[in-house]
Symmetry: C2
Subunit: 889 residues, 2 copies
């Protein structure tokens, strides 16, 4: 090992930072005794030194390269640049973090007018030798000298046409020789210097060129996109060439140790005989499936199977292997952990666990939770002829296809006719809820990730694309316009809520499935994680789904969602508009049995598990008609000469709605403020909860209601409410009270609540962090306004590292959460604390929640499996308080 | 001293908690050797014990009373209930915190059918004796036995009528005797028992009745209103009676040691000869001015002067003294610190300081800052015939009178005609600004303490009453309705912005004045305080006022206010509506010289002092026309058959305004978000600042601009901006840059900013806490929505102790402020930190700011003197790091 160089036989896979991924794995395989052509790695330190010195090779590097080369010559019994037994090498980049195709490679280095003769003699194949030489000039000319590849290709093309050769294989030695002459002239012409015959100069220039390619435009863009540090630098691997194009006993290919698409335990890959790697990539010839190699070269096939097996056991993961066969001799040129589909990832992890290669912890750590999202929602089977017409916000995962409908009523009609529909509107309101239910998915042209459509669709597990501004809805023409494209109502369209894509026509939808492997993996994760996973569910149906996916309770049941459907909305609206509390009470009396029956259904679905019910939260005017629209209707009535009394009724409505308008409804009369101003509303909800509990208890269902007061900012808000809860429980449950162990708690979503959490915990048995509102108020962002108006630009411009509504802002909002947990638990050590915002279903936020000691996260039912895995990974990352062995089914 | 009783000669003023205010002062005066009728105090402990024991006298108390009484008998040479030389006593309540008139008193106790004879013989005045007896029966009957006073009065009235007596003095002994008989019958009738002849029983019942009066309805209400603890209890003073109604050598009166209205150093008070205290209160006879006593009873006048002087020097404050003269003998019955007007308070404090009675610190501590508010604004000279028609929010202090006008244009016209006007509207908008300027004051029927009208009026130091919902503006009738009252445009009205009162007609307005005493007091305060006092000022005129009142800098110059007037608003609006940045730049080029000239004026006014300029902060749509109004105009245009092009222009405007609508503008595109999205706006403002600085420097003015970026929540927002400031300063100032020491800083008004203040301080040389926004976001309250919809009810219901927008919420918002100061100063020890919200002018908040180590507070120019006093008091309260001697002019 020199200062700047490490031979393959000197390194190992732990030295990835110094040697890059490719170099470290070549060293590791060398150590394993696998057939690796000898070589050495110029380290990333050398690269950094190259840049620090102003793009000059560091002192001593070239001497070390020359010495290392001597060692190679010795190993191979060849001589670099020799006219008889020339040693040829490849010069490849190899960065620490994989950056596929971003940097440069030069093959066949060491050829010149003399050594090409030696190669011809050695291989007995003059055409091969001259082809190799012309390939080298072309690569070197491009990479080192900056001459466009196309300028070389034009020469080959002309020569082939002239000689009537179709494929490269048909080109003769003479023709290649003519091409070489023209190549050399091109080089002289463009650079003013002859193509270098000094092979050491070739090597020096090639290494420098690979270093330099670290900073080419596409590499920089890639690094920025993937957050790879600019000063990491690349290593350079110099390795003796082997040739897959020395006849039918030679070849090259790519091999996966398992099927990367399904995870099946069988070799998977393809190869070409008599070809070099580039030929596989170029796609001129169709590669053969790896199984066929058993026929073509049975020994090699056997050895490959053995190599794949050894590598997999060694790396404990499915391997993606590049190999070359030179005249019957197998060489491995690269191995790495293979990329795979979601389905394969799960199957492979579980299979490796069952094969004893991985522990349960390791298997769980292998899974990208994002994979589960794809597995558990319908997805689009990608195809090349798909037309993506627009991209909106990926508001609710899953994919759907259906015919366009432009209003909720028609959705219901067409659905009843057995048609699949996609509801497309400017934005949805609570009045459209039946349309959302009837549709396969929703596409809106306005509204953000928390718009009505987005929230409702996520709750229902339906795909939704929101705020797709290039979609215009033309109700008169009954059509939508997407740029220049017009899609009429009734024509097919598809949406992908995971990516925000809007696709013309009927896409091929792949249905989700819960495989046996996935179930096993989730069980394993359950044994590891310490945080509980709850779900957000507002009705018995969602609660049942949540339980099916493994939820251990309901962390958020939004009682207002119970009123968002047609007939209920009307009663609710009357209640809000009531002139006095007597009238309000009358409407509440109508509402009570509806809420009660919802609660009964939910308690039944969650039998034995806690159900956190949040009392009414949103500003009342969210349930009211739009003022501008009302004024329009008023004008219409007046123009049509409506009766005075009708106008008067309308006017009263308008006055009421106007009075309820707020300049900042987010910060207005909502949450417990409502409950304190109109106590009869919360009283009704509490009665409904306890009546439902009583009814369930009589049927032998174990109910555990946890009553949650929203938007508390001062302990006094909760204090009075807690007394009220007890008194209604007392009154309603009577002697059943002992059987119904309910809890009282609060959302922590106003910054002040976190600051005075110690005082609030006096009255609260649990805290649930409403991280969406908490983020809004801590940043002073209204999510709906911010995302369209500045937040995305903030992220683009790097002012914010990421969207705090997607990934919890640990350095700001996190301080409040940590403070609240600390203060809350110091007042009440048994305090239960969790997150019920959307962050509860996001991986990094889940890791964070675990780290700060939360007891649970609550997320949408469809995201529960995702959260189970993420919570287990969190436990493992922080040292895993609980170590477990894999759980078998 | 017994367990429950303290004789006057045993106590002193330090025992106020035990003896109540009256008792402690009687003891103190006895110790001083002043002529105090002997007596003793039943302690507040006895009262608490009375309540704890279920309204029973504690064991031993009555024995102690009897023993104390024996002592009194001995001192006076009289006998309680004796037929010859009867001792009479008064039984008076005396609580720790003054509760004037809330509890009961009984005089002449000790009279019965026998002792009344003795009193007659002793005084040689049978009519006096029988009058005293009937007075006693009446008081005892009312206080102890609960018979309404009116039932007794009716008997006296009938008797007087029957006998043709007009005044009490005209009633004969016989007549009183007849009254006494009827009184006794009344008592027997109502209570079923005869009026008690046992004087000990009289005393026991009287003491119990006074204890019981602690819990009468009016006392409870009073305690609740003034925050007096219910378990404090009252003491009871039993004291030998002296009589002011024993002929022309007797009398009674009240004396202030200085004039409580002006503070002048001369006795002030009134007296009646031959009268008891009640007679002065009853107002049947007109009391004489105290100066006349020098003619009536010269010796007594001389002694009184001496007593007043001794008490004032002893208590080091102006005294309010009650006295009685019995046959030429002066007795003092009470002394306490006298209530006084604002003007008197200042003059007395300064005079006492100059007389060497008070140190500078003590003089400053004597001032209620609220007093200064009255002194420095016009106020209404109270009068009994004033009709208060309504009360709104006290939005901007001061008082004004003028004729009602209903729109801004007419305000300007009428003002030009020389009329004083009060602008009355539903609410004001930036378009009404010329009307506000032309008016004496503003009255609105809608909008809270931060509404446009309120903010603008406070800034201009004009009185304003906001959100006065009982006022309806009827533009058609050109009148306003206040309940049933109609005031037509052009009729007089008056408003009191300090109390929110709306007064019919032309009230008498007292103009403010800065007296020499006030100036001296402020200078003394300046020597004590350690916090600097800055002012909020947006134009040269306000800056000049601020400096006149002693501001040491501008803490907040709101650049958007510079655009709220007519012609400027139009240009600004065009700028906002610009379709592209080129068009926007053109409008900005028009605006630049306007801003520059404002800045020049402000820099000039503040020559040598810092001027904190906040770049544009509010959401842009605040400057735009109202959408509903625009839609109305659009329909009007269309109905009138306007040209297509006019309609198209209108439509473009509507689209633009609609696009700028935000659901929660408070949390939307404003502050630095605007500056980052439309950098050309801030660039213009920065150029204007530095061009103005350059121009001023050339005129020899010392400029110290401090540039403040609003709404920062992430350090990156400030980082880029700070670079921009430097580069524009560099470009604009050129070589003058060395002369212009500008600072860069930020508002801390988003909770996140406080949480990450350490990182923000890397880029900020100062923090200014925008406590209004910080309160809004920390509580999650939109002030405008909250105050009308729930905040006031929260305070009424005791959910919140007070309005956090008026008094800084120390336990919640305060945590963020303390955290930010700590983190900010730990990053940058030289960081300057202050408050520029409205809390900067509120006393308790100023005390808080001092306590947490802020460097300055900034408030409205008119509140600067108030803040100077409050800051000095803050320094004294926290131990006063700086002790100073009074500063003389």
């Amino acid at each position: 090992m020199g200062n700047w160089i490490v031979h393959f036989h000197e390194g190992d896979r732990t030295m990835k930072t110094l040697l890059g991924g490719k170099g470290a794995n070549l060293a590791e395989m060398t150590k394993l005794g696998l057939p690796i052509p000898p070589g050495f790695t110029v380290t990333t330190e050398a690269c950094r030194s190259f840049y620090e010195g102003g793009m000059r090779m560091p002192d001593g590097l070239f001497d070390e390269i020359v010495a290392a080369l001597a060692h190679l010559e010795e190993r191979k019994g060849m001589k670099f640049g020799h006219a008889e037994r020339p040693l040829l090498v490849s010069v490849r980049s190899g960065s620490v973090t994989s950056m596929p195709g971003m940097m440069d490679t030069i093959l066949n280095l060491g050829l010149n007018d003399e050594s090409v003769q030696g190669l011809a003699r050695q291989t007995g194949n003059a055409a091969f030798a001259s082809d190799s030489y012309r390939r080298f000039i072309q690569m070197y000319g491009n990479v080192v000298l900056g001459i466009p590849t196309n300028d070389f290709e034009k020469i080959v093309k002309k020569e082939k046409e002239m000689r009537g050769a179709e494929k490269d294989q048909d080109v003769t030695h003479e023709a290649w020789t003519a091409v070489i002459e023209q190549y050399k002239r091109l080089v002289l012409e463009r650079t003013g210097a002859a193509f270098p015959q000094d092979v050491r100069e070739q090597l020096e220039q090639a290494v420098k060129a690979v270093f330099a390619s670290w900073n080419n435009a596409r590499a920089k863009v890639y690094r920025k996109a993937y957050g790879i540090p600019d000063d990491q630098g690349t290593a350079v691997n110099v390795q003796a060439m082997v040739f897959g194009n020395l006849g039918e006993g030679s070849g090259t290919g790519v091999l996966f140790s398992r099927n990367p698409s399904t995870g099946e335990q069988a070799l998977y890959g393809e190869y070409l005989l008599n070809a070099q790697g580039e030929d596989v990539v170029a796609g001129v010839r169709t590669p053969k499936r790896i199984e066929e190699l058993a026929g073509d070269l049975p020994d090699v096939h056997e050895r490959l199977r053995d190599v794949a097996n050894r590598l997999e056991r060694h790396y404990k993961d499915m391997q993606d292997i590049e190999f070359t066969v030179e005249q019957g001799e197998l060489y491995v040129l690269q191995t790495r952990n293979g990329k795979r589909t979601a389905q394969a990832a799960v199957k492979i992890a579980v299979d490796l666990m069952n094969e004893g290669l991985l522990s349960g912890e390791e298997a769980v750590q292998r899974i990208e939770p994002m994979h589960l999202d794809r597995l558990l929602h319908p997805s689009i089977r990608e195809s090349s002829d798909m037309v993506v017409a627009a991209t909106g916000l990926p508001a609710s995962p899953g994919a759907a296809t259906g015919v366009v409908v432009l209003d909720a009523d028609r959705s219901v009609q067409w659905r009843a006719d057995g048609r699949r529909v996609i509801l497309v509107t400017q934005e949805t309101t609570p009045e459209d809820i039946h349309g959302v239910i009837a549709s396969e998915g929703v596409l809106t042209s306005r509204g953000g990730m928390t718009s009505h459509a987005a929230v409702v669709a996520r709750g229902m597990g339906k795909p939704c694309v929101c705020g797709c501004e290039s979609v215009t809805v033309d109700l008169e023409a009954r059509a939508i316009r997407i740029g220049a494209v017009v899609v009429r109502e009734g024509e097919w369209i598809s949406i992908d809520g995971a990516t925000g894509r809007v696709i013309l026509g009927k896409a091929d939808i792949r249905e989700p499935e819960m495989t046996e492997e996935l179930a096993e993996l989730l069980r394993t994760a359950d044994g590891i994680r310490t945080m509980k996973i709850y779900a957000n569910a507002d009705n018995p149906h969602d609660a049942a789904i949540a339980r099916h996916f493994g939820a251990e309770g309901i962390g958020l049941c939004r009682t207002e969602h119970m009123f968002m459907s047609g007939s209920r909305l009307a009663v609710f609206r009357d209640m809000i508009l009531a002139e006095c509390s007597t009238e309000r009470q009358a409407h509440l009396d109508t509402i009570l049995p509806m809420q009660q029956s919802d609660f009964e259904g939910i308690f039944e679905a969650m039998d034995g598990l806690p159900v956190t019910v949040r009392l009414l939260d949103p500003p009342l005017h969210e349930f009211l008609p739009d003022l501008e629209q009302l004024l329009g209707e008023r004008r219409q009535l007046s123009a049509n000469g409506a009766a005075e009394s009708a106008l008067a009724t309308m006017d009263r409505l308008i006055v009421k709605v106007r009075a309820m308008c707020e300049s900042n409804p987010m910060l207005g009369l909502r949450g417990c403020r409502l409950g304190l101003m109109f106590p009869e509303i919360y009283d009704m909800q509490l009665s409904a909860i306890f009546l439902a509990a009583k009814a369930c208890l009589q049927r032998g269902i174990r109910v555990k209601p946890e009553i949650m007061i929203p938007l508390v900012g001062h302990p006094n808000e909760l204090k009075g409410m807690a007394e009220r809860i007890d008194s209604i429980a007392e009154r309603t449950l009577g002697e059943d009270r002992a059987l119904c162990r309910y809890k009282k708690g609060t959302m922590i979503e106003v910054p002040r609540a976190a600051l005075v959490a110690g005082d609030i915990a006096v009255h609260a048995e649990f805290f649930s962090f409403g991280t969406n509102d908490l983020t809004q108020m801590t940043f002073g962002y209204s999510r709906d306004d911010a995302e369209g108006k500045f937040l995305n630009k903030y992220i683009d411009q790097g002012i914010l590292p990421e969207n705090p509504f997607e990934t919890l802002d640990e350095s700001g909002v996190g301080q409040l959460i940590e403070m609240a947990v600390l203060k809350g638990k110091s007042t009440r050590p048994t305090l239960k604390a969790g997150v019920c915002g959307e962050h509860g279903g996001e991986r990094r936020s889940i890791l964070y929640c675990h780290r700060v000691g939360l007891d649970y996260v609550s997320c949408s039912p469809f995201r529960v499996p995702y959260a189970r895995i993420a919570a287990a990974q969190a436990a493992l990352l922080t040292g895993g308080e609980k170590r477990v062995e894999p759980v078998h089914a």
